[in-house]
Amino acid sequence: MVITGENDVAVQTNRSGGRVTVSRGLVTIGVATVALFVLSAALDPASVSGTSLSGMLPVAAVLAIAGLGQMLVVQQGGIDLSVAGGISLALIVVTHVPDGDSGRLVPAIGIALVFAVVAGLLNGVLIGLLGLNAIIATLGTNALLYGVNLEISGGRPRITTNLLADVAGGTTAGVPHAVVIALVTLGVVTLLVKKTVAGRRFEAIGSNRLAARTAGLRERRHHCLTYVWAQLLYCLAGILIAGITSQPTAYSGDRYLLPSIAVVVLGGTSLLGGRGFPLPTVVAAVFLQQLVQLVSVLGVSPAISPLVQAAALAVGVSLYTIRWTALVRRLTPDRAAPSGAPT
């Protein structure tokens, strides 16, 4: 696997530092998030008030879950552009099939899960088995998912059932349920990837497919199933949006495409594959959503919001891929030409 020298250092430190280690991604995004909240409070206290957080956190929770799905794919060196279609289809199924009747919610969720598995398998077969380029294949699947979406809904959203609104959109003791669901999801993903044999193999395959194959691991199966796990997480994200918004549109998932990739990168997972960082990914989702919320509260032009997200992505990529110490060394004349050099 090709990663930068600094990442290598970080990995080595982690290995020698005992069982509990803090990844570089978590430190970076953690510090950035704390700094952002301090900055928000300083610029406009309203942006960190309870009301503001109650609007921001559920959306951040949805983004975190979609980001975890994207992270699994990125760990295998892939990228999943069908995240938008997957989210949109799930929310259309769980609002359109019950059509306001809470009794039909459970079957609807079942149908949404079946769609997610089928879409994931399609991606998995195309990319993992047939070796298609991930961008092209998932873009195609995305179009297909929207086709099914429009076939079911005619582009027309329905009102969320009361049950789903209570479960996914409600709060208990002031904590939005979506946040709890996101934290549970984080726990499950972390446990499966970090503490199970299959999960360890999964990461090893992402790091170096050739070595994994030589070691006799079923890398194709893992690679293929990644897309299924990812779609299941997008499906969960879609169901949550359906509960949070009373009448979600058929294209609601589109807003999560770029951010879902941005949070993975900001969390420190390399786009080239390998180790995944679930907790930093979730923190990055809070960071990104708070950034958007701050922009809204400050009341600056709506054009700024996508710019801010794009800038966050660019900063995230550069943080982890540019060898800053080498760059600084090169740009500092004293170090570039050591005093002891022969003349």
Binding site: S49, S52, G100, L144, G154, G155, R158, T249, V292, G299
Partner: protein, 365 residues
């Protein structure tokens, strides 16, 4: 593998459809029928005798409002037996697709085209090409720029300033001492929300202050974004006396935020929708608020269809050149209607529209 085969079949069908659309006939050479007005017996006076095919292009068809509007357009066209064919295309919010939809329908040989030009001036060249190809071209609701008789036959607008005036009148009557007004509009820069804002500003004295972004808070008419922006607004402004929104149903998921923050729901001046009216009714016991709605204007398309069909079939062209949406509900005076909630119908029906709620409920199934 059957999925792959389906994919291939789907792709084949799509390319065939595209090829067929591109190879169609080129349409008539003059815009509309010439000579004195004709009329089919028993049909409305705008229905002339020349047989035509009508096309309807939507820039973005992804919500129930559009679905009802499209069905209304189709229903209006069906009143005239001279309209022998009806074709519909949805741009799905993609400007490029909208442009190719217009060109595709023109080359497929429609005689008249009614267009919702969401992207405004961006689709003007396609409208002009359609007009020059001899198709009666009638954009409606969103102003595409350009001139009637040069770029298209006629633009049938909606008198949005009229809505602004109606809201301002109600606000002055029901929140008489002035206050903070929050206006939630559509996508940034859209002409509809700007016109409404200007009419309200002109008709409200300075004691009413518009808060938030000027001229309006851009929500893209998207419930999720509306909810997100409104949380920011509730956090930021301790005092909001009136909320104005030009797509009322998007507020339904956002309004409970006031109660959650321990505040009253402000007076609401907006457009109608069954989900909103039922929310108003449900809130009466716990957190009552005043509300007025103007009709959402699904029937704007009917006037545009009448105009296009009249021009193409040789019927009597309507004299009105803009749709004027009346006030629909007023929770305080009950005039012209008290708030109308129909629990037996889906939330996304628009009871102000000419098409009955029951028929709207069947759409999209």
């Amino acid at each position: 593998m059957s999925l792959t085969r389906n994919l291939v079949t789907g792709a084949a069908i799509t390319s065939l459809a595209v090829a067929l659309a591109a190879c169609g006939s080129t349409g008539s050479t003059s815009n509309g029928a010439e000579g004195p007005a004709t009329r089919v017996d028993g049909a409305p006076e705008w229905c002339g005798t020349k047989k035509i095919e009508l096309g309807l292009v939507d820039g973005y068809g992804g919500n129930s409002w559009r679905l009802v509007t499209t069905a209304s357009g189709k229903a209006e066209a069906a009143k005239c037996p001279s309209v022998t064919g009806f074709k519909y295309a949805d741009g799905q919010g993609d400007v490029q697709k909208s442009i190719s939809d217009i060109k595709g329908l023109v080359s497929s040989g429609v005689d008249a085209l009614v267009v919702f030009p969401d992207a405004g001036k961006a689709v003007l060249p396609a409208l002009t090409a359609s007009y020059k190809a001899g198709v009666v071209t009638v954009p409606y609701r969103v102003d595409p720029g350009g001139k009637a008789g040069v770029n298209y036959d006629k633009w049938i607008g909606d008198d949005f300033a009229n809505d602004g005036v109606n809201w301002a009148t109600w606000i002055k009557k029901n929140v008489p001492d002035g206050g903070n007004v929050l206006f939630l509009g559509g996508p940034a820069g859209n002409s509809q929300s700007i016109e409404e804002y200007e009419a309200m500003r002109k008709n409200l004295p300075d004691s009413y202050e518009f808060i938030g972004q000027k001229p309006f808070q851009p929500t893209n008419w998207d419930p999720a974004l509306t909810q997100q922006l409104l949380t920011a607004d509730i956090a930021k402004y301790p005092q909001i006396d009136v909320i104005v929104s030009d797509f009322g149903p998007t507020l339904v998921s956002a309004l409970p935020l006031f109660a959650k923050s321990g505040r009253d729901i402000p007076a609401l001046a907006t457009t109608d929708g069954n989900s909103l009216s039922c929310f108003w009714e449900d809130s009466q016991k716990t957190s009552p608020f005043k509300m007025t709605t103007v009709t959402t204007g699904n029937d704007n398309v009917r006037l545009a269809v009448q105009y296009a069909v009249a021009k193409a079939t040789g019927g009597k062209v309507p004299s009105a050149d803009a749709f004027k949406g009346p006030v629909f509900e007023d929770s305080v005076s009950g005039e012209p209607n008290p708030v109308q909630c129909r629990k037996d119908l889906p939330g996304d029906t628009y009871l102000s529209a000419e098409m009955p709620g029951e028929e709207q409920a069947k759409l999209g199934d």
